[in-house]
């Protein structure tokens, strides 16, 4: 069973191939094939999970991908609890979202292509988590980036979609450089990039190198998972169709960073600095995402910042090292259920509301969309950590572990995580109140294309996946946490979970304090948004804090200042030098002199002269430099 585990990847890859190469011939049944391949993978994964013992990691060598003397890259898969957990999540949630997309994309002429991209994504994501070397991981890493890029830009008519797609790709590239550097560093220091060899040899390296590798991996993780300072692309990525937001930008791809850190546990175990930085990034991002989430009126953007914030929790957890790897993965799984459910719910609302995303135009929808409301409500309760639902178990465990850190760290990280829980309660309650309760503000409004709103429940092909995910949102946490089931299952991959000796706050107090804070946040939201009518127009006269939050806490400005502007200026300078410095004098002279065709000819010799000059200059420099090196 394990030996042919490549089939897991092969199904969706084949699906993508058929759908994308087959062209219009496959339009009629393309969406069904797209679902079938993912369901097949899911079935195979379940069968593997049931029939095989996963207590030990099994490497399945497929073939030798890049064999050059010292550099051997095998294309192989690693089957172990960690990878199987991800495979089940990806194919399971993936299959549900594929089914949902049949309904959601029913009116889109390019539905078949959409399923092709989705299958491509699933295949790449499976390569990412199944690969048994960092290079194979990189392959999947780039593949999901590409699929995500294609899907964010799905609505080609919108310039904002193109911009968002480009932004996502570029910010990911920044992270990718980090990951690539980490891989090259491993190769040059250890001589291999396979997990087995790297983890075996990492202990012999100097602490500085280990920390460098850890930090570079973190950079890659930040890019993919929308963590500070590379978080700005994720909310913009909501330009894609909602199923994409649910699958790629909530449940699976954006959690790849968490996977990377958990996978590289043997590396992070050796570097306290690296772990600390992961924790700091996580703690900072979880607050950042939560605060910005309070300010948006776009239902998908709020959910996107919520995702940023929740992944912050996961990063915080895996940054705690042996105290948190398994907890981070557990939150990742429960989050996969409830956040996918929330996005599908949001998609269902949009489906009924002429693709409107502004919550100020919603209101009172619970009567019109009972199933959506019920499933969304359960997801909401799970997310804010309502007792005994999924989020309660997973998030609470992380907050406890955070308080268990030593010294000031316990207070800071624990405090941040707990504060984040309170803010989460606030913004999620605000979202639910503005969408499903209150006055039916849409009655007096029309959508942007001039139609009236007629909210209605979505067809079963959409609601059934939502119901399934809602069940997961309710029960998954309890299921995983019961008897530390998941923690023990993952132990062969990430090591046994350590428990802190003592926590900064009393152990028994933490869960109740967290729940209390969440409910307090929800109460505040109700006081502001539940009791009074929500204005349809966005209030402009707001506090500086709100304004800052509306501006993504100036995250874009920061990016612009740090990355984009210097890049822009370098480009401008280079072009200026090319146009003006070298050619400008000649051009100017020629323009002053000339008739049109004569100018062309003079330009020609002018160019060659300046080209030759630059060559001559280069030659002088080369020879001079060579002689200087030799005789200095």
């Amino acid at each position: 069973m394990i030996a042919s585990s490549w089939l897991l990847v092969a199904f969706p890859a084949l699906g993508a191939l058929i759908l994308l190469v087959g062209g219009r011939r496959t339009d009629a049944w393309g969406h069904l094939l797209g679902c079938a391949t993912v369901i097949a993978s899911f079935g195979y994964a379940v069968a593997m999970f049931v029939s095989s013992s996963l207590a030990e990691a099994t490497d399945v060598a497929l073939y030798s991908w890049i064999p050059v003397d010292a550099l051997q890259v095998e294309f192989g898969l690693r089957i172990d609890p960690l990878s199987m957990t991800f495979v089940l999540l990806i194919t399971g949630v993936g299959a549900l979202i594929h089914v949902y997309s049949i309904g959601y994309m029913a009116d889109d002429a390019g539905r078949r292509r959409f399923f092709g991209y989705l299958n491509l994504f699933v295949a790449s994501m499976l390569v990412l988590v199944l690969g048994n070397s960092f290079v194979t991981l990189y392959l999947g890493w780039e593949g999901v980036g590409l699929a995500s890029y294609l899907l964010i830009g799905w609505y080609t008519g919108r310039p904002s979609a193109a911009t968002a797609a480009k932004k996502a790709f570029l910010m990911n590239r920044v992270g990718d450089v980090g990951l690539a550097l980490a891989i090259f560093l491993m190769f040059s220091e250890i001589g291999s990039t396979s997990y087995a060899a790297v983890f075996a040899g990492i202990g012999d390296l100097s602490p500085a190198v280990i920390t460098a590798i850890a930090l570079l991996l973190l950079l890659g993780a930040c890019g993919k998972s929308g963590q500070f300072p590379l978080q700005a692309w994720l909310p913009d990525a909501m330009e894609g169709p909602t199923p994409v937001s649910a699958l790629i930008h909530a449940a699976t791809m954006v959690t790849a960073g968490v996977y990377l850190v958990a996978r590289a546990a043997p590396i992070y175990n050796l570097t306290e600095t690296g772990r600390l930085l992961v924790t700091i990034v996580g703690a900072f991002t979880l607050l950042l995402g939560a605060i910005i989430g309070c300010a948006y009126d776009d239902i998908k953007k709020v959910l996107a910042y919520s995702t940023v914030s929740q992944i912050g929790y996961m990063m915080l957890a895996v940054g705690l090292g042996p105290f948190g790897y398994a907890l981070g993965i557990m939150h990742l799984l429960t989050h996969g259920f409830f956040k996918a459910g929330l996005f599908l719910g949001a998609g269902s609302v949009m489906h009924g509301m002429n693709d409107e995303v502004d919550m100020r135009k919603f209101g009172g929808l619970y009567k019109r969309m009972p199933i959506t409301f019920a499933t969304f409500g359960l997801g909401y309760l799970a997310l804010i950590g309502f007792p005994f639902l999924s989020g309660f178990y997973s998030k609470d465990a992380i907050i406890e572990a955070a308080f268990g850190s030593e010294g000031w760290q316990g207070w800071v990280f624990g405090g941040a995580a707990m504060l984040g829980a309170g803010i989460t309660g606030f913004y999620m309650t605000r979202l639910v109140l503005m969408t499903f309760f209150g006055k039916e503000r849409w009655r007096e409004l029309k959508s942007a294309d001039g139609r009236e709103f007629h909210p209605h429940e979505s067809p079963p092909v959409m609601t059934v996946p939502m119901i399934v995910l809602a069940v997961g949102s309710v029960g998954a946490g309890f299921f995983f946490a019961l008897g530390d089931r998941l923690v023990e299952f993952l132990a062969p991959s990430v090591g046994a979970l350590s428990e802190a000796e003592h926590t900064a706050l009393p152990h028994a107090l933490i869960p109740w304090l967290t729940v209390g804070l969440s409910l307090f946040g929800a109460l505040v939201a109700w006081l502001i948004f539940g009791r009074r009518d929500v204005p349809v127009e966005r209030p402009q006269n707001v506090s500086p804090v709100t304004r800052a939050a509306r501006n993504d806490l100036y995250g874009n400005a920061l990016n612009e200042a740090l990355v984009a502007t210097p890049g822009l200026w370098t480009t401008r300078f280079a072009v200026y030098l090319d146009n003006k410095g070298v050619d400008g004098a000649v051009n100017g002279l020629a323009a002053a002199l000339g008739g049109s065709s004569g100018r062309l000819r003079r330009l020609q010799t002018g160019f060659v002269r300046s080209y030759a000059l630059s060559m001559l200059g280069g030659s002088f420099l080369i020879v001079a430099a060579l002689l200087m090196v030799r005789f200095s």
């Binding site: 050059v68 090259f184 630059s614 020879v623 030799r630």
Partner: protein, 524 residues
């Protein structure tokens, strides 16, 4: 005093031994080129095209067969023949194979007459541009079929260039490969002024670079008393001769080679010439000249200058950085597809140089593989460019490519794939190439350079992406270009490029094995 000159008079001069089997591919190519010239002289006009195309394709295939037959039982260490002026060793055989395969694709593009009646080449080069006759020739179906023998001459020159074991042979080969290219650049059917401008620019700057090359040879001869690479290597090992001559000569020699490879500060001709030359010729140049130039560069650095690598490496570092920076940054603002690919080629030359500098087995095999991979990708890319046309010929301005995916989804997908390969995304040959080259550089202690290279390859990804965005996410221009239905030849060339790009990304083992089959022949 004159004794050294007169000593050889009288007595029989030993005639050189020639291993005909080893150099048979070159002989076939150059011989067929001569036959091609005779055919031009004697065949009536209407018969020239089919006969020349047949002869050229047949020649390349025959040379390939001869190469294949020789590779089977070639000595592992390689041999030198023709008095040690030509070395036929593993790298040379690999490069010959690469050159022949790429030339096959290029000839297919050159021979194509489906996208435009009469092909991409001028019917009569003697007609002045812009005249009435010139407008008539645009729509006529003839072409200057001299292009085919010229291609073969250039190809023969390139093959000799990569196998030349002494600097003088290398120089002759350089001229043999360059002169036909200068001419072919000026033979475009449309936009003839810009095409001729490109030819003259390339010629003038090429002559300039050749002068540097020759001056470098003279200085190295002054240093070592020989132009043989092996003798120069022997001379550098512990002598008290003037190092000024050695390094000045080395520097000038490098200028000549780097110019041909369109590297670093010697790239200035590349965008103009790539833009102006007929697209099939641009494809030929971009793919084959790059292979030939870096093949020769590898041989010179590995055989002659290995022991002085500590002295020159720093300088070539700077050159590689300049090349990558220029290519990646200036490529960002280009508005013409051909110019953009030209800047991409400059950036790739920088990456190649990173691998070339690693004087190790991995460096050698990695660079050879990169050349193979890059050649096919860029060949197919130019093939695609030749298909997007409007009323005045090829529509190379980027704005014309807006929304291309809606008009021609297949073409847009193919071009996207090729751009992704140029950007180095996994499962394409570009990724494997970059990976092997950078790892080789890293294990030879060039970590900072690899970091810089990775950053620039990320920057370069941006302008490839710009085109993808334009093709997929923009509204088509109202009077945009049409996409010609390619004929069998162009289809074959593009398919060849795409398939190899994919194959080398998924199953690179075979090519990597061959690229790593052995080092340069050192005996002279």
């Amino acid at each position: 005093m004159l004794n050294p000159f007169l000593a050889q008079q009288g007595g029989a001069i030993e005639t050189p031994q020639i291993d005909y089997a080893a150099i048979l591919p070159i002989l076939i190519v150059l011989g067929a080129a001569c036959v091609g010239v005779l055919l031009e002289a004697f065949l009536p006009k209407h018969q020239r095209w089919p006969v020349q195309v047949g002869l050229t394709l047949l020649t390349i295939v025959a040379a390939g067969v001869a190469l294949g037959a020789y590779v089977g039982d070639a000595p592992e260490q390689g041999i030198t023949t023709l008095s040690g002026t030509v070395a036929v060793d593993a790298p040379a055989l690999f490069l010959w194979g690469t050159l022949l395969a790429l030339a096959l694709g290029a000839v297919l593009l050159i021979a194509d007459r489906s996208v435009e009646p009469g092909g991409a080449f001028v019917a009569q080069a003697g007609i002045s541009p812009g005249t009435v006759q010139d407008r008539a020739q645009v729509s006529s179906t003839g072409m200057q079929t001299e292009v085919f023998p010229l291609t073969l001459f250039a190809l023969g020159g390139m093959m000799t260039f990569t196998a030349a074991n002494d600097l003088l042979t290398m120089f002759i080969a350089l001229e043999v490969l360059s002169l036909p290219l200068y001419l072919m650049c000026g033979l475009a059917r449309r936009r003839r002024l810009i095409s001729q401008e490109a030819a003259v620019k390339y010629f003038l700057l090429g002559a300039f670079a050749s002068a540097f090359f020759l001056y470098g040879i003279a200085m190295l001869y002054g240093y070592a008393g020989s132009v043989r690479l092996a003798d120069i290597a022997a001379a550098t090992a512990g002598t008290d001769r003037s190092d000024t001559l050695l390094f000045a000569g080395f520097g000038l020699l490098m200028v000549g080679l780097l110019f041909k490879g369109s590297v670093g500060p010697f790239h200035t001709w590349t965008p103009d010439v790539y833009q102006g030359a007929p697209t099939p010729i641009t494809a030929f140049m971009a793919a084959c000249t790059k292979v030939a130039a870096f093949g020769a560069l590898l041989r010179v650095l590995f055989v002659a200058f290995e022991s002085t690598s500590w002295e020159w490496r720093g300088v070539l570092w700077a050159v590689a950085i300049i090349s990558m920076a220029v290519g990646a940054i200036l490529g960002l603002t280009q508005t013409d597809v051909k110019r953009m690919i030209a800047y991409s080629s400059i950036a790739h030359a920088g990456f190649l140089l990173v691998g070339t500098m690693a004087i190790t087995d991995e460096g050698l095999s990695g660079t050879l593989f990169y050349l193979l991979a890059y050649g096919f990708t860029t060949l197919a890319a130019f093939g695609v460019i030749s298909l997007v046309r409007d009323a005045s010929g090829e529509a190379t301005h980027l704005s014309a490519w807006a929304g291309l995916s809606k008009r021609s989804p297949l073409l847009a997908a193919v071009f996207t794939f090729l751009l992704l390969a140029l950007a180095g995304i996994p499962l394409t040959s570009g990724f494997v190439g970059k990976f092997v080259v950078f790892s080789a550089a890293l294990s030879d202690g060039m970590a900072p350079l690899v970091v810089i290279a990775l950053v620039f390859s990320a920057v370069a990804a941006f302008f490839y992406l710009r085109v993808v965005v334009l093709m997929y996410f923009s509204e088509p221009a109202p009077e945009g270009p049409t996409v010609s239905v390619p004929g069998a030849f162009t289809t074959a060339a593009i398919t060849l490029g795409v398939v190899v790009t994919l194959l080398l990304g998924v199953l690179p083992a075979f090519a990597l094995d061959w690229a790593g089959a052995g080092g340069f022949a050192l005996s002279s």
